[in-house]
């Protein structure tokens, strides 16, 4: 059982079951408004050049828990179709930043714009149709099956009182298939292993059919095989469908291998941003993490390998 990410897996698959079950109904799914009025909202931005393709615009976010500042001043932009990862030491505020982006936390200062529109002006339902979040873990005292967990991803698209239709069922099944959890459909969510749960949460996010996928440590509970599969799936979604991806990642090697852009968050600020080669430099990483690292270039690809050497020492 593996993520289905290979092209032939979804191009030559057997679609007959679903075309019979509800393929026609599937066509009638209303497409979401394609945010055409993007640029207008930012027209008078002046110094900050308005950029119609800017998908997620985080501007001067400041956020603190009580007296403890977590994010001091975070500013960055993500273009449509970007694949960006957020790295940084523990406690740097990666999860907090993701929460601010999705408006779960309301930052003390700063704004987040989704395709030019301030997120605070959108209601959660509108946001959930366009941004899906894969949390690190989910716990619940209630016995939802895997199918029900994934089906909840359709909630923002469904009208009140309406049951999920055949088209929704097809979307749910496809999402489960992509995340390799279709076989688990009948199992209670709580009985799954950490890695399986994480894949179910991914499937739920995919069922939302988002433009932007936010992931918080998507590989935390996965073995190396599923780590690779997860990353390949994310790349596939990003490259074939243009889903914008922002993932908080711990593993710097994974980050450099799979992401075109890296944001390094440390001490509540974006310490560095750019390609993996630009960000993953010994002095920058040392400043962020406080450990000395060696950067190696993998002979078989352009990816980097970050090796921690040890604490910063005099003359080392």
């Amino acid at each position: 059982m593996r993520f289905r990410i290979r092209a032939q897996a979804w191009e030559h698959g057997n679609a007959q079951a679903w075309t019979r079950a509800g393929g026609e109904a599937g066509l009638s799914t209303k497409s979401r408004a394609a945010a055409p009025a993007v640029a207008g909202d930012r027209g008078g931005a002046g110094a900050l050049a308005p950029d119609a393709q800017c998908h997620l615009d985080v501007l001067g976010i400041r956020c603190s828990y009580g007296a403890w500042p977590v994010l001091r001043d975070v500013t960055f932009q993500i273009q449509r179709g970007d694949r960006v990862c957020l790295v940084g030491p523990n406690g740097a505020g990666k999860s907090t930043l993701l929460r601010c982006i999705t408006q779960v936390l309301h930052p003390q200062a700063g704004t987040v714009r989704l395709a030019g529109v301030p997120m605070s002006r959108l209601d959660p339902r509108q946001i959930a149709r366009r941004i899906a979040v894969v949390p690190q873990a989910a716990e619940s005292d209630f016995e939802f099956t895997v199918y029900e967990m994934v089906a909840m991803g359709r909630n923002p698209h469904l009208k009140a009182f309406a049951a999920p239709g055949p088209a929704d069922l097809a979307t749910i099944t496809r999402a489960m298939e992509q995340a390799a959890v279709a076989e688990l459909a009948e199992r209670p969510f709580a009985t799954l292993s950490g890695g399986e749960q994480q894949r179910v949460l991914l499937a739920r996010a995919l069922a939302q059919e988002p433009e932007i996928l936010l992931l918080d440590e998507p590989t935390a509970h996965l073995d190396i095989a599923y780590q690779v599969e997860m990353m390949d799936l994310l790349c596939q979604l990003n490259e074939t469908l243009g889903v914008t991806i922002l993932a908080a990642v711990h593993d710097l090697n994974l980050a450099s291998q799979y992401f075109g852009r890296v944001l390094l968050l440390a001490q509540g600020r974006i310490l560095a941003a750019g390609t993996p080669e630009e960000v993953m430099q010994p002095d920058i990483l040392q400043q962020a993490y406080g450990v000395q690292v060696t950067i190696l270039h993998r002979p078989d690809s352009s990816a980097l390998v970050v090796l921690p050497v040890g604490r910063k020492r005099e003359g080392a």
């Binding site: 449509r80 179709g81 929460r99 619940s140 009182f161």
Partner: protein, 386 residues
Amino acid sequence: MRDYAEDRRPPGWGAPASLLAEARREGAYPVHAREAAVVLRAVRARSRREHAVLAVLAAVCVGALLAGAGVGAVGISPARIGQILLGLPAAAAARGTDAVILLQIRLPRVLVAGVTGASLAVAGALFQALFRNPLADPYILGASSGASLGAVVAIALALDLHLFGWGAVPLLAFAGALGTVWLVYRLARACTGRPSVLALILAGVAVGSFLSGLVSLIIYLLQDDRMHQAVFWMMGGFSGATWDQLAMAAPYLVGGMAVAIWLARDLDSLLLGEETAQHLGVRVEWTRRLVLSVGAFLTAVAVASGGVIGFVGLVVPHAVRMLGGPNHRYLVPASALGGAGLMILADLVARSLLAPMELPVGVVTALTGAPFFLYLLQARRSHRWM
């Protein structure tokens, strides 16, 4: 530090608002037959189970109705009940003694009991979703203490109020229950800004025990006959139920259930935590406030109709969830049916066990509910819930 905004954007991405949907339309993402079969089986298994449980509960409910209406000092057979009900406009059918007993005494009593049980069970289901805890009950925010205080005050002062079908005691009990929940909510919000689940529960415990103290104090100071009356009220019962009482209570149940089913999917999401719920498109704070008010109204109307009756609101949603799963589209109607059936049967037991003496319904539900609850707790452990 480099400015991320300067990075060139990857070329070739058009307007992809609904790319996944488009891809699906073009057939780029067919679903595989084997996985589809597994998923379909999961969907069908769950919905078949839910429908089966609903059907059984409905049958139990009808059976309880017939038993509740038929059993008593004068036995009335189901066939006779049908005759009387169907011949309702015809004078001939309504002339017998049994018809008078059925229409004037038994039926209103059974229906009031049913509506009360259903209200408590639905309120319990709502509070369990709200607090994300399968052990929450309708009285978790102190509604029972508030209602008791209202009722005891009405009895102590021998107030003579009437509003439609309700006298002073139910009116003040209703107001007490609602007022307490409102107070608890305001207190929790005053303490923590955005009232968290924990703050609500703590405020509920504090306010509840304060009001209980007041209730005990008042009862202690009461004269004997009034003390009896107060204690009897607090143990719950449906003797002397009237059609007017039913007319007061039923609209709340219908309205509350409509809202609950309308919010069913949001309630499902809320069970996964507030953050996840928001990620799934739920307006968390708004929904919570709405669910809290609906639950408070249902609890208040139940307490006004039948006194403080425990365990129905806790056990019924819990048991129904164990039988058919946690989906609220199923859970809300199933809880209503189960609560109604259980309360009618409990009332039947209460008035026929030691007939002609009547036991308080609250005693019956507590005596049967508590052991069952302990059983659930123990089953819960084997489900790795705690």
